[in-house]
């Protein structure tokens, strides 16, 4: 799962390179190399958070799911927000700090949306599962919503183009769109093996079920 976690942004990177790097967006032209660097920084952040969790606190996604998730999103949060805020749209009207603020706001709002989605798809509801659901949706929000929030703010058209129609234009939008969809689709597929009776530890508590496996696959 760790491998999966790390390889996912990387694979989307490859995808992106084969895409249409030449197109320019209105706000900022970003070269493929730069996009690659941004994504590798994200991946490194992810790896660091895993390493910290594993070596300093000796927890893993399997043994302590929500603590680890907490670590991931706390470590990854500044990385993602600070990185993506650099690519904000209308950079003359919108200051860097404002973009960061938007990102933070997006984190919370996105967490709500993600939690709704997860619960609708069958994640258990209850005080017992609250912490894992919250942490998971924070993390998902970090990958899915926050970049877009930092870059676009509240521009409905852009949001819709990216998430409802999946028609990104330009490198920046690909940078946002591909990891987000990768995370969503990966987590969706990650929920499939839950009912199987392999009796693996990460399956053991079906209550956590969808909550655990989704991050583990993204």
């Amino acid at each position: 799962m760790i491998i999966l976690l790390q390889s996912d942004p990387a694979s989307t990177m490859k995808h992106k390179k084969q895409g249409r790097p030449g197109e320019l967006s209105a706000s900022a032209a970003v070269s493929a190399a730069e996009a690659f660097i941004v994504h590798s920084i994200c991946a490194v952040g992810l790896a660091v958070s895993f390493w910290v969790a594993h070596s300093l606190h000796s927890i893993t996604l399997i043994s302590h799911p929500f603590q680890t998730l907490f670590f991931i999103w706390v470590v990854e949060c500044p990385v993602v927000i600070l990185l993506y805020s650099r690519y904000r749209q209308n950079r003359y009207e919108c200051s860097y700090l404002r973009a960061v603020g938007r990102g933070l706001l997006g984190l919370l709002a996105g967490a709500l949306v993600n939690a709704f989605g997860a619960i609708a798809l069958g994640a258990p509801v209850g005080v017992k599962y609250l912490s894992s659901t919250v942490n998971w949706s924070m993390m998902m929000s970090l990958f899915v919503v926050v970049p877009a929030a930092s870059v676009f703010g509240s521009s409905w058209t852009d949001w819709q183009r990216l998430f409802a129609l999946t028609k990104p234009v330009g490198t920046v939008e690909y940078m946002i769109c591909l990891p987000a969809h990768g995370a969503l689709i990966g987590s969706w597929f990650g929920a499939w093996p839950m009912p199987l009776d392999w009796e693996r530890p990460w399956q053991l508590d079906h209550g956590l079920g969808f909550g655990i496996s989704e991050p583990s696959a993204c």
């Binding site: 069958g122 509801v125 058209t157 819709q160 409802a164 129609l165 199987l196 009776d197 209550g207």
Partner: protein, 991 residues
């Protein structure tokens, strides 16, 4: 008209494409079972004579003469041939229905819970003193009474379809223990469950049967007619409560009314009342007692019901009574008695049974009266079928021919070594004979030395048997070592046990020979019908495409042909389902898949709704698009609402097999208490009624008609409310009879109202609006009985709202393709089916709910009710197609008028009927193929076969639903057309 004919022809083709399959399907197992029986009889024309006591492969000494011997001579002949001394003369079999062995023996070697030990003090003391020896007897699924009884007396793993006949038992024709006893002239007495009488008609000298759900009024001892009436009412009432229980809606505490205590007690009192009389008589050889009360207690209150301890105590008293009067007291000249306490199956924590979990298959085999001085601390696990051969050997009768069980060796401990070996030999002969009947290649002739056993199946069995026989012979030849437990003795026993174990496992796991031709024909027929359906579907879709292109070519670009995500998903779901059916755990937990798929589809549709929101949202300041934007905004919000309600529905029941213990809403409600449940039931009832009234009144029909229809459907609604108010809480006895009356009234009113509306409405209503109106009503009609019939099932309301809401949402989304929507409704129905607490295990069928409001035992009526309750959700989904069509029909009316009326009907009816049919046919074919592939899988009987039964039932459900829909729409349409032509001709005449 041509269109109608084409449509009818198409439907006929489906029907004919499908229905030849049916006999092949149902014959599938049943035939194969009977084929096995016949083949084993045919291969041994000598019948079950003394040849059981000869080695297979050699000619029987007294070929046919044994069949004609008088019973007592036969008995002595058997005694002589058997070589295993019979230590008992009389047998008492006490069947305690549904008693898990865990209650008597504990689990996994751990000591018993204190409360259970106190509940059965006498039995526990017997076990502790070594007077009794108990086993966990693993029962084979399906764990329902009749197949288990068959297994116990014949030793064979029965056909799976037995479960379907559980409530309508036929006589058992196979060779069995009781028949063998009968042949040697035993006199048999049976007290208890009627199933025995149906299985073995005419075998019993005296009997007093009780029925599982309805104690027949003809029981002579009933005090008065009133009493018996009360009694029947009590049963119905308990059935009512059982249904609540099965849906876990009623709290544990408030569900102990005095009547039910009486009910669970009375069934057993009817058994026990003759017991002391029978125990004092000595004219019988076999006494069968079948106690149903414990099973009833389980159904009502689950394993931990507070009625359980008294019931166990009662059973303990029976054991004590028998033991003190017969076994301890056998110094007289009436011979020795063996008491065998068995249970046919266990029960889950909720008290259900039918599936294959440990709790359900953990049944008891307790032998009391054996000479066993040392208390056995470790209880082995044996198989339920082992009881047969053990009893047959103990009493010196031939082992029933189809027995696949192995004798329980602990029972024969007291015998001398050669007798023990003889018993093993007899059992081996019988199994080898059965093997020979099933595998013609098994023929063991030359006795050689010991060899390594490998190679083909036939060779391996043969070699294992020959090894055992060789060791046995060599041990026999050395008279010196016969006196003590020698090395050779142990190796011989080991060899026999190995052969027996392997042969038994193979025999009980083996799928019996299937008639290959029938099977192939069935698969081919299903495949063709599936292909026909699919091609028809494809053609219709193409046609629709073409038409839409003509109509909309001006407005839309070629994006119509793009393969949208939701369509791809809908299509992919079928493959996902097919693949998931190949995995046993996916079958067990299928509800997760359905829910996951359904909600993902909703999410995708939500995404689509947002897509369309964009175009208007971007220019929301243009007042021009305001109305349209509102529509998609409404669509989006309703999707979200739908997601939420779907999640609630899923949370209602933690279904499946492995995770049922997790909390869900129904368990929470159960804990909250009866008042909450009552309140929620009332609220939902009123909500449903108001909603339907509102939607009725929005129709533009004349007031009078609406009032009449509204009244028709309100009456049962109020009756249901009245029932909930009056009877749900109070547990008073006399009201339960009224309750039955009430329920019957509701059925009647609903039935007539529905029929009347559907038939009469097209005629009465004004021409212009008649179509929509009648569609609507015919929808409300069929769906109402479905939801109201399960009136104690609160969930039903939620579900129906859910489906109706879905249908509305679907019909709002104009840009979705029709077949996607229909498929979505179908998925919805399936998701609802599992959300209502059904699963692919037979244990979840709401048997008790089927007896609501039926005052006499009728297999057909209760079967229909059971079907409706189980398949309420898919049925409702399919029936909502009627409304769907009515909403959609407005689209068609806008189409150019060059289409003639027949074609209109065809286009309306085609997709809604075709899509569920073809979806279902794909699943049916796929599952049949999977079942054939999986026939040697370990879980074939426990997981795959029940699922197959469900698949067949859902097929029937789809047929019924689709034909109802088609008939309603066609009827309404033809009436409208007829009236229109009449009016047209009238106008013509006027002018």
């Amino acid at each position: 008209m041509a269109g109608v004919i084409i449509q009818m022809l198409g439907l006929l083709i489906f029907v004919f494409g499908f229905f030849p399959v049916k006999p092949a399907l149902s014959g599938f197992r049943y035939n194969s079972v009977s084929v096995l029986v016949f083949s084993s009889i045919l291969s041994e024309p000598k019948h079950c004579g003394p040849e059981s006591f000869c080695a297979p492969g050699f000619d029987s000494i007294q070929n046919n003469s044994a069949g004609n011997l008088p019973p007592d001579k036969l008995r002595s002949l058997y005694q002589e041939l058997s070589g295993v001394p019979t230590s008992f003369d009389k047998l008492i079999v006490m069947v305690v229905d549904g008693l898990p062995a865990e209650f008597v023996l504990g689990k996994d070697g751990k000591p018993l819970r204190a409360d259970l030990r106190e509940a059965m003090p006498y039995t526990q003391s017997l076990l502790a003193n070594g007077m009794a020896i108990g086993f966990h007897a693993k029962a084979a699924p399906p764990t329902v009474t009749m197949p288990r009884l068959k297994a116990m007396v014949s030793g064979a793993i029965g056909g799976f379809l037995d479960v379907a006949f559980n409530f309508n038992t036929q006589a058992l024709l196979d060779d069995n223990l009781l028949y063998q006893f009968f042949k040697i002239g035993w006199k048999m007495v049976m007290l208890g469950d009627e199933t025995w009488l149906k299985l073995f008609p005419g075998l019993f000298m005296r009997h007093d049967g009780v029925s599982s759900f309805f104690v027949s009024i003809s029981i002579a001892d009933m005090n008065s007619y009133g009493g018996s009436l009360l009694f029947v009412a009590a049963h119905i009432y308990s059935a009512l409560h059982l249904s609540c229980e099965l849906l876990k809606l009623t709290s544990n505490m408030c569900r102990i009314p005095m009547l039910q205590v009486k009910d669970t007690v009375q069934v057993d009192q009817n058994v026990s009342r003759h017991l002391s009389d029978e125990l004092s008589r000595y004219d019988w050889d076999l006494l069968i007692l079948h106690y149903l009360g414990l099973d009833h207690v389980g159904h009502i209150g689950g394993r931990n019901s507070i009625l359980m301890a008294p019931k166990l105590k009662e059973m303990d008293d029976v054991v004590k009574m028998i033991h003190t009067s017969r076994i301890l007291n056998q110094m007289n000249n009436h011979g020795k008695t063996l008491l065998v306490v068995v249970s046919d199956h266990g029960m889950t924590d909720n008290g259900n049974h039918g599936g294959s979990s440990y709790e359900e298959t953990d049944s008891l085999a307790l032998f009391i009266g054996l000479k066993n001085d040392v208390p056995t601390s470790i209880q082995d696990t044996v198989y339920q079928i082992d009881i047969t051969s053990t009893l047959a050997l103990l009493f010196g009768v031939p082992i029933p021919k189809n027995n696949a069980g192995v004798q329980i060796s602990e029972i024969f401990k007291h015998l001398a070594d050669d007798k023990k070996l003889r018993a093993l030999e007899l059992n081996s002969w019988q199994l080898l004979r059965l093997l020979q009947a099933q595998l013609p290649g098994v023929s063991c002739n030359e006795v050689s030395g010991i060899s390594k056993c490998n190679g083909s199946l036939e060779k391996m069995f043969c070699c294992l048997y020959m090894n055992a026989a060789f060791l046995h012979n060599s041990w026999m030849s050395k008279a010196v070592s016969r006196l003590k437990h020698g090395e050779e003795y142990n190796t011989a026993v080991g060899a026999y046990n190995e052969f027996l174990r392997i042969a038994s496992e193979w025999l009980s796991r083996r799928i019996t020979d299937k008639p290959v031709n029938l099977l192939a024909f069935g698969v081919v027929a299903m495949l063709t019908s599936c292909l026909i359906l699919l091609s028809l579907l494809y053609l219709t879709c193409k046609e629709d495409f073409g038409r839409e292109r003509i109509c909309l070519s001006n407005f839309e670009n070629s994006s119509m042909h793009a393969w949208h995500l939701d369509e791809a998903f809908t299509f992919g779901v079928v493959f996902v389902l097919v693949i998931s059916m190949g995995s046993s755990s996916m079958v067990e937990e299928e509800q997760y898949i359905w829910h996951f798929v359904a909600s993902t589809l909703t999410l995708l549709l939500l995404r689509k709704a947002i897509q369309s929101l964009k175009f208007e949202g971007a220019q929301s300041f243009f007042s021009l698009f305001k109305g349209q934007n509102k529509t998609s905004g409404f669509q989006t919000s309703s999707m979200a609402l739908f997601l939420v309600s779907g999640r609630i529905l899923r949370g209602w029941h933690q279904g499946g097999v492995n995770w049922t213990h997790l909390p869900d809403i129904s368990k929470w409600l159960e804990q909250a208490g009866g008042d909450y449940i009552k309140a929620i039931q009332l609220v939902t009832g009123i909500l449903v009624m108001t909603l339907s009234l509102i939607s009725l009144s929005t129709l533009e029909v004349n007031r009078k008609l609406v009032k009449v229809i509204g009244f028709c459907f309100l009456t049962p609604g109020f009756l249901v409310l009245h029932h909930i108010l009056k009877h749900q809480g109070s547990m008073l006895a006399p009201s339960s009879y009224n309750a039955t009356m009430l329920v019957q009234t509701v059925y009647l009113v609903l039935g007539f109202a529905t029929l009347g509306t559907v038939v009469a409405l097209p005629w009465l209503s004004s021409l212009s609006t008649s179509k929509t109106c009648s569609y609507y009503n015919s929808y409300v009609g069929p769906s109402d009985p479905v939801e109201l019939r399960n009136k104690s099932l609160l969930v039903e309301f939620t579900n129906s709202l859910f489906v109706i809401g879905w249908a509305y949402i679907c019909s709002c989304g104009q840009q979705n393709k029709q077949w996607v929507e229909i498929a979505a409704v179908y998925y919805m129905g399936m998701a609802g089916h599992y959300a209502l607490g059904n699963s692919n295990s037979l244990a979840t069928i709401d048997v008790a709910g089927a007896f609501i409001g039926i005052s006499s035992h009728s297999t057909v009526l209760s079967g229909i009710l059971m079907f409706i309750i189980t398949y309420a959700s898919p049925m409702l989904a399919i029936l909502s197609m009627v409304m769907y069509i009515s909403v959609k029909s407005s689209n068609y009316l806008a189409l150019p008028s060059y289409m003639d009326s027949g074609e209109l009907l065809k286009s309306m009816l085609c997709l809604p009927c075709l899509v569920p049919l073809s979806l279902n046919s794909i699943l049916l074919v796929a599952y049949t193929v999977i079942l054939i592939l999986m026939r040697n899988h370990l879980f074939v009987w426990s997981v795959f076969s029940p699922k197959y039964l469900y698949v067949c039932a859902i097929t029937v459900c789809v047929y019924i639903g689709v034909s109802v829909v088609a008939a309603t729409v066609a009827y309404t349409y033809s009436v409208v057309v007829f009236r229109r032509t009449i009016r047209a001709s009238a106008v013509m005449e006027d002018t």
